[in-house]
């Protein structure tokens, strides 16, 4: 590209790519590390929920000889029981050495009290500050409670009382969340992450090329070259959009690579983010880069300094998330009309692509068309703003 637009575009990109700090924040920290971090959290969440469902909770029982039937019940409740004798102090020592250990100690008076139909005491030891130990202890307690209820019922029956009498209310909890549904929710955040990190990619260039240029005092000289001002600003908007496209490519590739290491299949989900989907996500989101670049440039051109621009743009970055949030709250279903809303249309299409859905071509066309139209309008507005004298500031 030649002419002022191309010359400015080339120069702004050259400067941005040379500035290590800009590169780090625009391309490395956000688009590269962001998805990696997210996928890592997702992976941990998934592994834990898989484990929580299938795990045979290991539990150590001390003084088991005093209650053979009780221990047998624990085994039948799906707990992996280990027998090892020890007193209170020894058990505390075990847990200090292995914090995720759960220990059940059958007290010395257990057998005697059990025979006398008095409450017999068992102690459950677990480190409550450990999420995993806490979860295991709960499983153990549930098993003990069931045992207690069974024995209590038998005792009542032996005395001619129906056990149902002591159960005034019965809770029947229906947990409809499945790990895969939770994972799908987390994956939904991915599309939002893609849009946000795309914006981050062009943030520094947008500030530097506008507020930064004015603050450094090079803007006035630039405005004395024989080129219409709007052409100069178009070059700057395009440069920011190019950085955003770069960030978008990086974030898409990173997600594609990172999702390969996800245990999605074990939950009956397809990790639908192969090269074809990644390419589609990139193509669908690309027009959004122009909206982002135009928006940031317009806002930055109102600010008086680099720091002021930074704080404003921090807020403006959230603007594209507003339609997504509203649609999320209202739980809207994807529809052709929604494809006219930039950022929301990309969000919905990316989600559809990840679910492997067949999307109407009209939707894609509407999304690309409306987003490009808004991007061009913002770019034009940025050009208009740069024709004002006030752009010099001071």
């Amino acid at each position: 590209m030649t002419g002022p637009v191309g010359i400015v575009l080339g120069k702004e990109l050259r400067e941005a790519l040379r500035d290590r700090r800009t590169l780090l924040t625009s391309l490395v920290l956000g688009p590269l590390l962001g998805p990696l971090f997210f996928v890592l959290v997702l992976k941990l969440t998934l592994e834990q929920s898989v484990e929580a469902q299938d795990e045979a909770v290991p539990v150590t029982v001390a003084n088991a000889a005093a209650a053979p039937n009780f221990v047998q019940h624990l085994r039948e409740s799906g707990l992996a029981v280990t027998l090892q004798d020890g007193d209170d102090a020894t058990i505390r020592g075990w847990i200090q050495a292995a914090p995720e250990l759960v220990v059940v100690r059958i007290t010395e008076a257990y057998a005697e009290r059990f025979q006398a139909a008095a409450p017999a005491v068992v102690m459950v030891y677990a480190d409550g500050s450990r999420a995993r130990a806490e979860r295991r202890a709960r499983r153990v307690q549930e098993a003990i409670n069931r045992w207690s209820a069974v024995i209590g019922g038998l005792r009542l029956q032996a005395r001619g009382v129906s056990p149902a009498l002591v159960q005034a209310v019965v809770i029947d909890t229906v947990d409809v969340s499945t790990p895969s549904a939770r994972a799908a929710l987390l994956l939904g955040i991915l599309s939002y992450l893609i849009l946000l990190l795309t914006l981050v990619g062009g943030l520094y260039l947008a500030i530097d090329a506008t507020a930064g240029e004015r603050e450094r005092g090079s803007l006035e000289a630039l405005l004395t070259v024989p080129a219409p001002r709007e052409r100069l600003i178009y070059g700057k908007v395009l440069a920011a959009a190019t950085m955003m496209a770069l960030a978008l490519a990086l974030v898409t590739l990173t997600i594609m690579a990172a999702l390969r290491f996800m245990p999605l299949e074990s939950l009956g989900m397809s990790a639908n983010f192969g090269p074809a989907v990644a390419g589609s996500v990139f193509a669908v989101t690309l027009p959004f880069a122009l909206v982002g670049a135009g928006l940031l440039t317009v806002v930055a051109s109102f600010t008086r300094s680099y720091t002021e621009a930074q704080s404003w743009l921090g807020v403006v970055m959230l603007v594209p998330t507003v339609p997504i949030a509203i649609a999320g709250v209202l739980a809207v279903k994807p529809a052709a009309a929604l494809m006219l809303v930039p950022s929301l249309s990309q969000h919905l299409i990316i989600q559809g692509l990840m679910r492997g859905e067949e999307l109407p071509v009209v939707w894609l066309a509407l999304s690309a068309g409306s987003t490009l139209a808004l991007g061009l309008a913002l770019t034009w507005l940025a050009g208009r703003l740069y024709r004002r004298e006030a752009i010099l500031g001071g």
Partner: protein
């Protein structure tokens, strides 16, 4: 050749310049002298087309700066008050960027940049990034940038601001060299010695108006003053802003 006639410009309720008229001829150095806030920068900004006047007219080589701003910009080289350059580009790249925006390219561009690098003694730091440049180095690069398209007319806003003695001396040499080559040099300053040392013509501005104009000798004679400084004080009424 720069001609300014009855130029006026308000910022809100403030009249920054009010009927400024003067001429700056080719092959001459013309100084706009006045205290801070007198209207020197506003006058220059109208001339280099980043501000529009609300009264009067200004032309460069006969080109009206309001009617034909692009053509006027081709005829002038500008060193604005804040002569910032791009920190991530080398001195040479900074100069070449403006060359491209002026329509130069390829061998012609490289040759012109090389000429300026030699003429302004930029060689030593030509290929270093501008990030750590001293004020003197920055002004040299900004000046080379202003001269890249070989303009007939030069507008310099307080060019010696922040320069040390050696840098100021070499700047003066350069400005004299441009005069010898037939350029029209118009610069603003609030420093009396600078204007006295360089200028063929002096335009004294105060409160947005031209209060006196002429050659240094002519001004002294007009005010019956022994020195240019006395003439300046007589012209603006007191010694505000003198250095």
């Amino acid at each position: 050749m720069i001609r300014v006639t009855g130029l006026g410009r308000c910022f809100g309720a403030i009249r920054a310049i009010d009927g400024v008229s003067f001429e700056a001829g080719d092959g001459r150095i013309t100084g706009l002298l006045g205290p801070n806030g007198a209207g020197k920068s506003t006058t220059l900004r109208v001339l280099y087309t980043v501000l529009r006047p609300d009264a009067g007219s200004a032309s460069v080589d006969g080109i009206d700066v309001v009617a034909e701003p692009l053509a006027a910009r081709r005829a002038i080289g500008v060193l604005p008050h804040a002569a910032g350059i791009y920190p991530q580009l080398t001195a040479r790249e900074n100069i070449a960027y403006f060359g491209r925006l002026h329509g130069l390219a390829g061998a012609a561009l490289n040759e012109r940049v090389a000429q300026l690098v030699a003429a302004l003694e930029i060689d030593e730091f030509a290929d270093r990034r501008a990030r750590g440049f001293s004020q003197g180095q920055r002004v040299k690069v900004a000046l080379a940038r202003a001269l890249i398209h070989a303009p007939r007319n030069l507008l310099l806003d307080e060019p010696s601001n922040g320069l040390d003695v050696m840098a100021t001396r070499s700047l003066r040499e350069l400005i004299r060299g441009l005069r010898a080559a037939g350029h029209c040099v118009l610069f603003s300053s609030h420093v009396m010695q600078e204007v006295a040392a360089l200028c063929d013509d002096i335009v004294i501005i105060d409160h947005g108006r031209v209060v006196a104009a002429g050659t240094p000798v002519g001004l002294q004679r007009h005010f019956g003053a022994a020195t240019l400084e006395d003439a300046f004080v007589a012209a603006i009424g007191d010694a505000r802003g003198l250095e």
